[in-house]
């Protein structure tokens, strides 16, 4: 199989190479990194029949433009509601298409969402660090940022005609409030702070990157000027700085820190929250830790089934028309 080679005509900030991440290195100060929206990233690989964890490109609101210089490859785009321009064709994300030598593709922010994923039927050639190509954005380790002027090579590039077209989007993600489990330092906050967090509305600010998302809204006062010994942080920790402003820590978070954490967002909602944009409002709801386990297990079971469903090739256009006709019993005039 041949390589497909792209030149990067344009890339916004924070467009990075990502695989499933490098868990297991937090004790050395290294967060897991990996995609901000793990469901959308997994869906992009599944829609191409790629092994889970295959390396893909995470695209920020800044967008990405590529030109195919050599070869051809089928690719999948998922994530937020982004606009995809392929030659003269304009579609939205959650699509599979093939791009060939001489063609261009542009992926730009659309109506909603902060991150899109671009996966290829082939292997993204990229640097790795600690057995992972995921980019750790603050150090630049791993696959690294995708930047204008770079070239991007896909080895073993494949064309999969039987996978082209729209990808069915997940319908099992919650659209309710973001679920949190309070603690570990909720007891260090003034009376009413936890209550305020789950009853008031917060907004995403533009202080938002792969490390974390600062929120604006009612302040969460600490019970006195407090400093706790630096302790481990997780993806989803809601830490509150001395001025009462909450920040949700995300994929490239610091691994330890001394700000008190009022609550932690459950794992599946961390990814959903990552798709929010600056200015967007959100609400939190507090659940117990056993409930968090139940909710996440339900989500992961549905996710596994969904990924299995979308990984089945749909067949060639002729085969698909045939099947639709048979199923629906109608014939095109």
């Amino acid at each position: 199989m041949a390589d497909a080679v792209f030149s990067v005509s344009f890339a916004g900030p924070l467009v990075t190479v990502q695989d499933a991440g490098r868990p297991g290195n937090m004790r050395y100060g290294v967060s897991a990194s990996g995609p901000m929206d793990r469901l959308a990233y997994d869906a992009a690989n599944a829609a191409l029949g790629n092994p889970q964890g295959s390396t893909a490109i995470e695209i920020s609101l800044g967008g990405l433009m590529l030109q195919c210089k050599e070869g051809a490859v089928t690719l999948a785009i998922t994530g937020g509601d982004f606009v995809v321009e392929h030659g003269t064709q304009k579609t939205s994300s959650w699509t599979v298409l093939t791009i060939s030598k001489g063609e261009r593709i542009a992926i730009r922010a659309g109506r909603a969402g902060s991150w899109a994923y671009l996966a290829f039927a082939g292997c993204v050639v990229s640097k790795d660090w600690l057995q992972s190509q995921a980019t750790h954005s603050t150090s630049g380790f791993g696959g690294g940022a995708v930047q204008a002027g770079h070239s991007l090579t896909i080895s073993d590039a494949t064309i999969c005609d039987d996978r082209l077209g729209e990808i069915v989007q997940p319908d099992f993600t919650s659209d309710g409030p973001i679920r949190i489990v309070t603690g570990p330092q909720d007891h260090h906050f003034s009376e009413g702070a936890t209550e305020r967090l789950v009853t008031e509305t917060y907004q995403v600010t533009d202080a938002y990157d792969r490390m974390g998302m600062r929120l604006s809204g009612p302040l969460l006062e600490l019970d006195g000027a407090l400093s706790i010994p630096s302790e481990p942080i997780v993806r989803g920790s809601i830490q509150v700085s001395g001025d009462g402003v909450p920040t949700v820590l995300l994929a490239d978070h610091q691994t330890t820190g001394g700000y008190p954490k009022i609550a932690t967002v459950i794992s599946c909602d961390t990814d959903r929250l990552a798709q929010f944009r600056a200015g967007q409002s959100l609400r939190f709801t507090s659940i117990s830790s056993p409930q968090a386990i139940d909710d996440v297990r339900t989500f992961l079971t549905q996710k596994t089934q969904y990924l299995r469903d979308i990984s089945v090739p749909r067949g060639s256009l002729a085969q698909r028309l045939m099947r639709e006709n048979l199923i629906h019993g109608c014939v095109f005039d």
């Binding site: 297991g24 004790r27 630096s230 459950i266 794992s267 297990r297």
Partner: protein
């Protein structure tokens, strides 16, 4: 204080041994970390030692907070904190003026000569407390009291990797070009990122560290060795 357990979201348990930093609390953290490494329950992804607590993160499909907490309690019952002996690590430091822009400031703040600051730094008995801030940033305790200085009011940008920096009782060898508000008193040619996939970071939490003074020529030859693998 009895160890306290906190459930973190759907995927971790935080065990806290004390409210304030102490050697005893940190020894308990390391002892529990070792005990879990020796007998790891199903579903545990990683453990993260810090100053007074240990994070145990797990896969929520395979286990849950209650099962993990039970296992930790079992480990705590048999915990021996007295036998903690980390590996002894030796780090070379070059205190050449161009590598130590803050040596003069530390000297004047502490009323010592530059050489006395260097000697006090070399005399310290350092211990790896935890990693944090950035990949490979290992916080060492043990800076001698007479050279403990507070952080600078504002961080300095683009401090080169390998810088040996101090603030209060802590010392750190930077691994990346990063800003820091700590005082820069030297540079080490010894890489914390070892490049060895089986042991990618030089220190483990709990290790002991001693510093050895080297001159510029030794620094440059050691640095060249690293550059050429």
């Amino acid at each position: 204080m009895e160890p306290q357990f906190k459930a973190i979201a759907d995927h971790a348990v935080l065990v806290t041994f004390a409210k304030d930093v102490s050697e005893e609390a940190h020894n308990s953290v390391i002892a529990l970390d070792n005990a879990i490494a020796a007998d790891t329950p199903v579903g545990v992804i990683e453990t993260v030692p810090a100053l007074v607590n240990l994070l145990v993160s797990f896969d929520p499909i395979m286990t849950d907070h209650i099962t993990i907490e039970e296992h930790i309690r079992k480990c705590l019952n048999g915990l021996k904190t007295k036998v903690i002996t980390g590996v002894q690590r030796h780090i070379q430091v070059c205190y050449e003026a161009s590598f130590a822009p803050d040596l003069g400031a530390v000297a004047s703040a502490t009323g010592l000569s530059k050489d006395a600051v260097i000697n006090a730094h070399l005399a310290g008995d350092y211990h790896v407390l935890m990693y944090g801030f950035s990949p490979g940033y290992a916080y060492l305790s043990g800076v001698a009291e007479q050279i403990q200085v507070p952080r600078k009011p504002a961080p300095v940008r683009d401090v080169p990797a390998g810088s040996v920096i101090i603030a209060g009782p802590q010392c750190l060898i930077t691994t990346l070009t990063m800003p820091t508000g700590w005082s820069i008193i030297g540079r080490s040619p010894n890489a914390i990122f070892t490049g060895d996939p089986t042991h990618p970071f030089l220190f483990d939490v709990g290790d002991n560290v001693t510093f050895e003074r080297i001159d510029l020529a030794t620094f440059e030859s050691s640095n060249r060795k690293i550059d050429h693998g």
